[in-house]
């Protein structure tokens, strides 16, 4: 090649390459030839409305989904329960969906029960086995079928009810530890739970109700609390808490009255007595409820300030000040919670606080509490039914147990021998998403979808004045080979044929749900059904008109409250154990989520574990320091736990959160901490109602190191004065 042509050629190629470089790129985004089914567009996020199931409160959520992956859960601003807000447990819902240890397909047990040895099987085979196991119970006389679930509401309750109708002798037990059955068995026996109007009250008095962490509807009450404190121009709501432990909720109070466990009710009687003396009580409400002034006067006659102070062991000055506030500030609202209800005298104590609300004139007024009629189907069992079931299980009267949406081996005190009774059941079939204590005992596991993959509805049990049906919709495609529990029921019905298949011909739970919604909200489905349903799904559910409040009738006369009983001799077990629902893990159902394990407990800053709280004075006497390993023993059992010195606790009380101590439930929860329910001693009284606050314990120091890890310094990072707090 000549030099000239070489230069010509190289010049041309250079120019052409540069020209190509100068040309503009694709000026148009070329749309998909076949758009993806789920409408995912790269770089654009979609929001789907759904409902949270981390606790029964039923907060509405919006899930941010990006190219088919759920990224962030946010509160639904238009939902009447939580008004756009969400707690840490709700935020962590995503990790349940993407948890590495979810059960990915149906499993069949091969090893001994509890060994965790399972082999994967197909859905066809699993359904065939389940149908085979269920078939004999369709006969009239065949006993021994049990469905154990969490309390069910709304459309799932109806579907389960319809399904079980075809098994004449089947028993359905729907129980969970924090279910407010004690509130429904109170003075009014109301089936619905009242809505407490925290936001508009001027004086709030909490009788052991930890409404900012676990009581009924924590996000709703948290929102109301902010409103009560600072949303109104001229009023800052005042708030006192009475109870033996300074909980997270109590920490926000202006005054903490550290009453002896099970004596909070005395303050309620003290206030009622003053109301009667000053004749400033709501006589008409008392009359409407069917109660007589004379009876109440007789009941509270002796409860002067001195007597209340003695019973509760609080200084009379504080009692007097609290009574003065409660009587002079209006509206003054009283809440009653688990710390009071879980005592042996809890039933009468709850009634005492309800009577106080009645006398304060709080029924159905702003800043008070609203009673609304129960609006929906509801399957829920109480503790007496649970203990009855355990007896039946011990007598080998249960042959086949279906367990859905709960973990009873973990959440029932070991002293009631539930695990031993469970071993008596020849066949256990679980619908769990994780290998927890209960599903490890199962012979067959048909894993349920995660909440973010399911259809469903939630009727919030507490906390709205209007009728609310929150809808759950799948926001992502199912990750694993799982199936929703209601879909399994429908598939079973189809497979088993006969009447069952005739009555439940639905193709999917979605179809059932839509038909059920039409029955419940008929006027909504005039016109295009599809469009209406889409609209409901978009807004996160159906939020009906405000319900007409009802005036409650007292079912029983308020009674004298006796002193609480504690099991265990005082000489041997000098301390009283109080267990409480963990802020991070609720009743223990969320402890497999690493975000929550890592989230420092607000009061102790402990991470990845649990602990025993001891008052520093008591700890000094026992020779225990922060972080020491201690042995806690009760008449029911022994545990070793790290000690945390907790100034907000009565000296004769020790406390431990429920939630840790799992044997199973995935890598993040397994064998972490201890379950304090192993210490609860059951008594005759506790066969009737849940009395988890009534056990005495003994504490002994074992060693100086316990592996306790706290995220912050025990005293906080800085000196408080430096911050100007």
């Amino acid at each position: 090649m000549k030099r000239r042509s070489f230069l010509q050629l190289s010049g041309m190629s250079l120019a052409s390459s540069m020209l190509a470089g100068c040309r503009k790129g694709n000026e148009k985004l070329i749309p998909f030839l076949v758009p993806p089914e789920d409408g995912a567009i790269p770089g654009i996020a979609n929001y789907y409305a759904s409902t949270c199931r981390q606790c029964p409160a039923g907060c509405g959520v919006l899930v941010r989904v990006h190219e088919g992956r759920a990224q962030k859960v946010e509160g639904n601003p238009h939902h009447p329960v939580n008004q756009g807000k969400l707690c840490a447990r709700g935020q962590a819902m995503l990790q349940e969906l993407y948890h590495p240890d979810r059960i990915k397909q149906p499993l069949k047990r091969t090893g001994i029960r509890g060994s965790g040895q399972f082999i994967p099987i197909s859905w066809d085979e699993a359904l065939k086995q389940l149908a085979g196991a269920l078939a004999p119970y369709q006969q009239k006389e065949q006993e021994g079928l049990l469905l154990f679930s969490a309390p069910l509401r709304g459309s799932l309750a109806r579907l389960t009810g319809d399904f079980l109708q075809h098994f004449p002798k089947a028993q359905h037990l729907a129980w969970e530890p924090l279910s407010p059955e004690w509130l429904q068995q109170g003075l009014f026996g109301n089936p619905g739970i009242p809505d407490y109007d925290l936001g508009n009250t001027q004086y709030l008095l909490s009788f052991g109700a930890d409404f900012l962490e676990s009581h009924l509807s924590p996000v709703r009450y948290g929102h109301g609390f902010g409103h009560m404190r600072q949303e109104r121009q001229t009023v800052r709501g005042r708030y006192s808490y009475i109870g033996p432990r300074l909980s997270l909720t109590a920490a926000s109070a202006d005054r903490w009255l550290p009453a002896r466990p099970g004596t909070e009710w005395a303050l309620a009687f003290g206030i009622i007595r003053r109301l009667l003396q000053e004749k400033s009580f709501d006589a008409s409400a008392l009359q409407a409820a069917g109660l007589s002034v004379t009876n109440v006067t007789e009941l509270v006659a002796n409860f002067n300030v001195q007597r209340v102070a003695e019973i509760a062991d609080i200084s009379p000055t504080e009692i007097r000040a609290t009574i003065n506030e409660a009587v002079s500030i209006s509206p003054a609202l009283a809440l009653v919670g688990e710390m009071t209800a879980w005592q042996s005298n809890g039933s009468a104590a709850v009634a005492a606080v309800e009577l106080l609300n009645l006398m304060l004139g709080n029924i159905n007024r702003p800043g008070g509490l609203y009673f609304t009629p129960a609006t929906d189907a509801h399957i829920s069992s109480n503790y007496a039914e649970l203990t009855g079931l355990i007896e039946r299980m011990q007598q080998k009267k249960v042959q086949l147990a279906l367990i859905y949406g709960c973990n009873p081996v973990f959440s029932i005190p070991s002293d009631s021998n539930f695990s031993a009774a469970l071993a008596n059941i020849p066949q256990i079939i679980s619908f769990a998403s994780f290998l927890d204590e209960t599903s490890l005992q199962a012979d067959l596991i048909l894993p349920d979808h995660s909440n973010l993959e399911s259809w469903g509805d939630i009727v919030p049990p507490a906390g709205t004045r209007q009728q609310v049906i929150g809808l759950i919709q799948p926001v992502v495609k199912p990750l694993h080979n799982t199936r929703a529990f209601p879909d399994v029921l429908l598939a079973l019905a189809k497979g088993m044929g006969g009447n069952l298949a005739m009555q439940l011909p639905h193709e999917s739970y979605l179809q059932w749900l839509e038909e059920d919604l039409i029955k419940r909200i008929p006027d909504l489905f005039i016109g295009d059904r599809r469009q209406q349903m889409d609209h409901l799904l978009q807004q996160g559910g159906w939020f009906g008109p405000e319900l007409e409040p009802i005036s409650p009738k007292a079912l029983k006369r308020p009674e004298r409250v006796v002193s609480p009983e504690f099991s265990g001799a005082q000489e041997q077990y000098p301390l009283q154990l109080q267990v409480y629902a963990s802020v991070n893990f609720y009743d223990g159902r969320s402890s497999h989520l690493p975000w929550l394990q890592q989230l420092p407990d607000p009061m102790t800053t402990v991470v990845w574990g649990n602990w025993l709280e001891i008052n520093p004075q008591t700890a000094r006497k026992l020779g225990v320091n922060q972080g020491d390993l201690v042995e806690v023993s009760s008449p029911a059992g022994k545990l070793t736990l790290p000690a945390v010195l907790y100034p907000g606790l009565r000296p004769e009380v020790v406390a431990c959160p429920i939630g840790q101590g799992h044997q199973g439930l995935g890598r993040y929860a397994d064998r972490r901490g201890e379950n304090p329910l192993k210490l609860i001693k059951e008594t005759e009284a506790s066969k009737q109602r849940l009395t988890w606050g009534g056990t005495r314990v003994q504490v002994r120091r074992l060693a100086a190191s316990s592996g306790l890890v706290t995220a912050g310094h025990a005293e906080g990072s800085y000196h408080r004065d430096l911050l100007g707090l």
């Binding site: 969400l86 840490a88 609390f225 800052r236 989230l599 890890v709």
Partner: protein
């Protein structure tokens, strides 16, 4: 340095009378900003990763005991002590008053964390790990930080950007309350309020003028953009 070329000056008000210390903000922040999971031994050795934390202070002895909470996050100081010490300008001041952190520039000297009086900067000692499929939750809007990089609260800058883009698409100004960081969005008692301090009518500006206002370590002259409102009972009514 208070040289601003933007119309915005982002700021936050935290009302301690509303804050209940529940920790919802901490988890919301972790979800929004791809903050790795800190294992127990990591936290025990001081390698806890968080952009917001709740400080808890005990006060007094039984029975006259109280607990107080203080959410602590990057204060986005106008005279930030972390900025001048960075040898590579990874810690810089954004025209909108944000204290930014450029991960690509960061070489991990940790001088900034050393100089921060609020101890809100955290360091990635290791590469983060998410056992599959947990990584599917990660947000594409936020960089996943690698080993050797300092990180801290960004006031959810990705949300600010998204909000501004949306507003400019619709040819309007950004509305007050339209942009909310994850912590403010989730806070049940609405203790955290976020907004533009340059707009005297914004909610955050109005609250920042409250007689209960104070800033942390005011005497250090760091000029924080986070304003706290005193709370806590009888001592500080309304």
């Amino acid at each position: 340095m208070n040289i601003e070329t933007s119309e915005f000056h982002w700021g936050m008000v935290i009302d301690l009378d509303r804050c209940t210390g529940c920790g919802a903000c901490v988890t919301a922040c972790q979800a929004e900003n791809n903050i790795p999971i800190s294992e127990q031994d990591g936290i025990a050795n001081g390698r806890n990763l968080h952009w917001i934390r709740i400080e808890r202070y005990w006060e007094g002895e039984f029975p006259h005991v109280r607990a107080r909470f203080l959410p602590m996050l990057c204060q986005h100081c106008d005279d930030a002590p972390c900025e001048p010490v960075c040898p590579v300008y990874a810690s810089y001041h954004n025209p909108e008053g944000l204290n930014g952190q450029v991960y690509n520039r960061c070489v991990g000297t940790r001088y900034c964390a050393n100089n921060c009086p609020y101890a809100v900067r955290v360091f990635n000692f290791f590469n983060p790990k998410w056992p599959k499929p947990l990584e599917q939750q990660l947000s594409p809007d936020v960089t996943v930080r690698s080993r050797g990089v300092m990180e801290k609260c960004s006031f959810c800058i990705q949300r600010i950007r998204r909000g501004k883009e949306q507003a400019s698409l619709e040819n309007r100004k950004l509305l007050d309350g339209e942009v909310m960081p994850a912590c403010a969005q989730t806070c049940p008692p609405q203790a955290i309020i976020f907004g533009d301090l340059n707009d005297p009518d914004s909610r955050v500006s109005k609250l920042a003028r409250s007689p209960r206002r104070f800033r942390l370590f005011e005497d250090l002259g760091t000029e924080p953009s986070v304003i706290y409102l005193k709370g806590g009972g009888h001592d500080h009514p309304g």
